[in-house]
Subunit: 341 residues, 4 copies
């Protein structure tokens, strides 16, 4: 069998572990050939690819990023790919394409699959918001990085009687904020799934100070936003430099809290450190299992599907399921955290 | 409601997170009282306990160990506890006992439960070998510590053309060896679940050297052992100093490989560092959820049960289920690793 | 002897290690008494203090922040302290005051010393910019945190063919940027000590892309600024929310590079994570030695001095020396980095 | 100029950082050529080498081990090298040899230098025991790894009322034990420089238990040994498997303490994890500076010398100085730790 593999979308710790695992399983398990397309679907369309043997994936398990590169592709060119599915497949002589990517990539994968390409997808997002899988690799690493930051900020907040607002990733789903907030013991957590009342945060901080705990750490997903009328805030506003995030909710909320509380409040925007670097052991294992099972699925002819974690098992889920509904934080998970506002 | 909580058995990162979560949920969610027994069931029998309020659990979320202490208890005294269940319950005025512990502790918990004590258990083991729950807290931390060690040993093995044998914890189940071996990219993994052939390991190393990869890292669970006749080895042998583990499988295997391969092989025995210190974010979240749900179960009157992770949800499982069968590594998980011997 | 100790100024990993060391050495070495003033000089003036015995400092060695708290004090009140030096000393019955702090604190310490208070200072700054000492504790931790961030950003920059601009702390001295830039292998380093030419950065990135290295990481001290005419930039400008740093040099430079290069450039502002949390082993050792030697100096009557690292030895330096001249990065150190612009 | 570089001796985090720095400085600073000999002096004698350009050292700064490999060489062959110095130099056309290594390597380097080879040495040892330099790279990483282990063991010792004996590296000098012991807050530190009285350790532990601190962590250098008559112990004894270290001082001492104290005492032997893996930021900076200055020295014709850290500067020291006297822990440094026995 000849397998094509590509990585697309934003960076995510564990991509290399998937690539390595696909190559290992395919070569040593089945005697397959594997080629890797460069810079995502772009490489597929433009003919940029290279053969991947065991040496090519040696030493990459613990490395962040992706040895294949990743790039955005305009929708028009994806359409072009879908229309030329058969040609593309013939051109590279591949029996299956294994695209590793997030919602956008899996949607593209589905387009190709619908157009006749044999596709086995591997879901990828640090945001953990893909339906059909319990968890995605990259998420654990992002939560770990955010938790370490909260750990560090707590001591400095406490010593200086400050409020710290940590903005973590998560535009549409608040999983990183929820779990890093719980793991770091944040006193307030704000999620995209539930508009927050600034008054509630103010009250929480004041109650803490009243009982002698003269500091607070608030963990805010970048997609969180205040409830209507709770605070002046224009969602999606762009600053004069074209960057939304540095005028984002973290900075705004810190400013607002400082004004209302009359106490120092400082924002920290974690940014891209959450999606780079060496994956945690958890993510390496999950990524390795996904790669292994993708090859198995390819050999079973289980096309139009993607790998998924269900409990302790890796199963297959239709690509369609993954891309039609975002997995957001349900209210019972918010209850468990006790500090979701 | 008045809740008694205790920790028993070996150390496990996340114990404090459970205690903190029980106290938080009970006090702020229900206005309960919580008392903590010191040094496990010993404190329950000997009357050593202290009230746990919010201040008592402040700052312990990320701390290893257990603020309540832990100690072994002879079976006779456990029997004594079971026989005086009603007295004990009356003596402390507790409506429920929440013991946090491993197989031994949960068996004791079941004895008390059978004798009439309202009990909600919280399972704990770095070994991840408790049935009825997908994972236990402490396991992720142990795997992380072991993986970091393998990461470090790989570079030194490679530079010096050596074989490194890393012995990790896991007397009866090989989960830590499996997952740290996968995450660290060990070239051989030996588990208690499957006796290994030394010849196979020798062959693997020789093939690696033959294709220019002049080093190998082998990850061995402390409970792994060679197949009958594969290597001279007396299981459970005690050295002249009374310590079994330093004459354990790691050291033996390194010695054997050195002899057969004619190459340097070095053992590294990770030992207790795997079960101490700050828990990973994953373990803090799981421990916190377990504590929260234990209090919920107590209020529902869900006695004789223990918390369990099933997929993404926390559910309750009968204490009986947890203690009758060990959860070992199934063969399909060994297949995924590709390096299990 | 009766020793008063206080911590003042911004947070710095290692403060607790100094406090612990002072208490250990004073109590077990000399049978002294130690009291700790709360929230810096404020506690000294307002009579907020507590006795510090061995139990009070148990378990704090590895903890970030300061158990004594820290707060800003207006100059007027410091003047008040200086004028009432004798009264204050009598009031608390202290034979020596050991203030632990940065430039501002040491200046205040010198005022008190000049006014007759027996003072032994301990220098503290993550910025490493205090003259008379080779290094200050807290610096190594800040560099470690910044380096880990650069390590993570490098893989994500490489996979996505991006320019990453990391802004690290250092308003007046670029030590953190220099050493984390060197340790992380940043392709460009910008320091407050040398105004940079944006053109040079642009050229460096273009040359990298030209030879196939399609990414770059630039490490910028928050106090770095472009050379006159090199880029539109108003130093010290305040955004509409009152925060300077989020419109700081990191964001500006990323924006400017994106415009000139026509490639994605992203800023990451590390902020307060650099000054909180557990200190590195290096910082714990240095802080412990400083505390030990401060007590020795107190017993020798070596007042008006502060502890200092010189080579491998701890020596004493006049408080005056520390506060009159900032230790900035000399040009030969910039040469060694090869990537300072 | 044509530069030959090689790494020899045991593994040490930072070796790759030196190689990278030599190549960077030589190529971009002077337009030199650099070749790397494989497996230490063996490559020099056997003609195994490869050219090192910028691509060859790309991405190695943070990687443990050495891309050039390392191997032991018998003294006879070193003699051979010294006798054929001129031939060797001509054979490879090198103007200078930069050997990176420990005491043995530097002694060999001196032999070659005395025989007429232009040599600039770079000292390397995780043990920090080379005279003429304040610190060596690799040491900070080893101390960090050991400190993290002690941090983890402390919580588990405390929860289970145990004595933990951690054996760290350091055969002849106790720097790693001293600094990791101080940084980890070990209650007892045993160094090769001072034979310890077991009675003193027993007394210390008993006093701790008496005042309610029911645990202790003792950090022992592998080269530490009991004072004459203090405990039955045959130094250098070899077990039946030919391994000395697993019958080493850590295991013996734990056994002895358990017997005398009547309390659980457990040994943990850290072993090779201390000398592998990614270097700390400190070690990367020091290694980079050493590499840079080695090239400068080569261009100045400063032969027969090695790089050295003195205070904050890199200076040159005669190879002779480095190899005639071991830098051991002086008694005033032991005093500072207060827990050296």
């Amino acid at each position: 069998m000849r397998i094509g593999v590509l990585t697309a979308g934003g960076d995510c710790p564990g991509l290399n572990a998937v690539i390595r695992s696909v190559v290992h399983r395919a070569l040593t398990g089945y005697g397959d050939e594997v080629i890797g397309f460069e810079d995502g679907f772009k490489g597929l369309l433009d003919g940029h690819f290279r053969p991947l043997d065991l040496n090519a994936v040696s030493g990459i398990l613990a490395r962040g990023g992706t040895i294949l590169g990743s790039a955005r592709l305009e929708r028009a060119r994806l359409q072009e790919a879908a229309e030329n599915c058969e040609d593309l497949q013939r051109r590279y002589g591949i029996d299956v394409l294994i695209p590793i990517g997030g919602e956008g990539t899996l949607t593209a994968a589905r387009m190709l699959s619908d157009a006749g390409m044999p596709v086995v997808g591997v879901p990828k997002t640090i945001d953990n918001d893909i339906s059909s899988t319990d968890r995605t690799f990259g998420f654990d690493t992002a939560v770990m990085v955010a938790t370490e930051a909260i750990d560090r900020l707590k001591t400095t907040a406490e010593s200086h009687q400050r409020v710290m607002v940590v903005e973590v990733m998560g535009r549409h789903a608040g999983w990183i904020a929820l779990e890093s907030g719980m793991a770091g013991g944040a006193h307030g957590i704000c999620l995209p799934e539930r508009p927050f009342q600034v008054d509630d945060l103010v009250k929480m901080v004041e109650e803490r100070f009243a009982r002698g705990k003269k500091f607070a750490v608030i963990c805010v997903a970048e997609g969180a936003h205040p409830a209507e009328g709770s605070m002046e805030y224009r969602k999606g506003e762009i600053d004069q430099y074209g960057h939304e995030r540095f005028q984002g909710i973290g900075t705004r909320l810190a400013k607002e809290l400082e004004k209302r509380l009359g106490k120092e409040a400082r924002p920290v925007i974690l940014g891209h450190v959450q999606r780079g670097g060496t994956p945690t052991a958890y993510d390496r294992v999950l990524a390795t299992r996904f790669g292994w099972h993708a090859v198995e699925a390819a050999h079973r002819g289980d096309f139009g599907m993607m790998t998924a974690l269900r409990g302790t098992s890796i199963t297959m889920a239709p690509l369609a399921d993954a891309t039609t509904r975002l997995k957001t934080v349900p209210s019972d998970r918010m209850l468990e955290a006790e500090s979701v506002f």
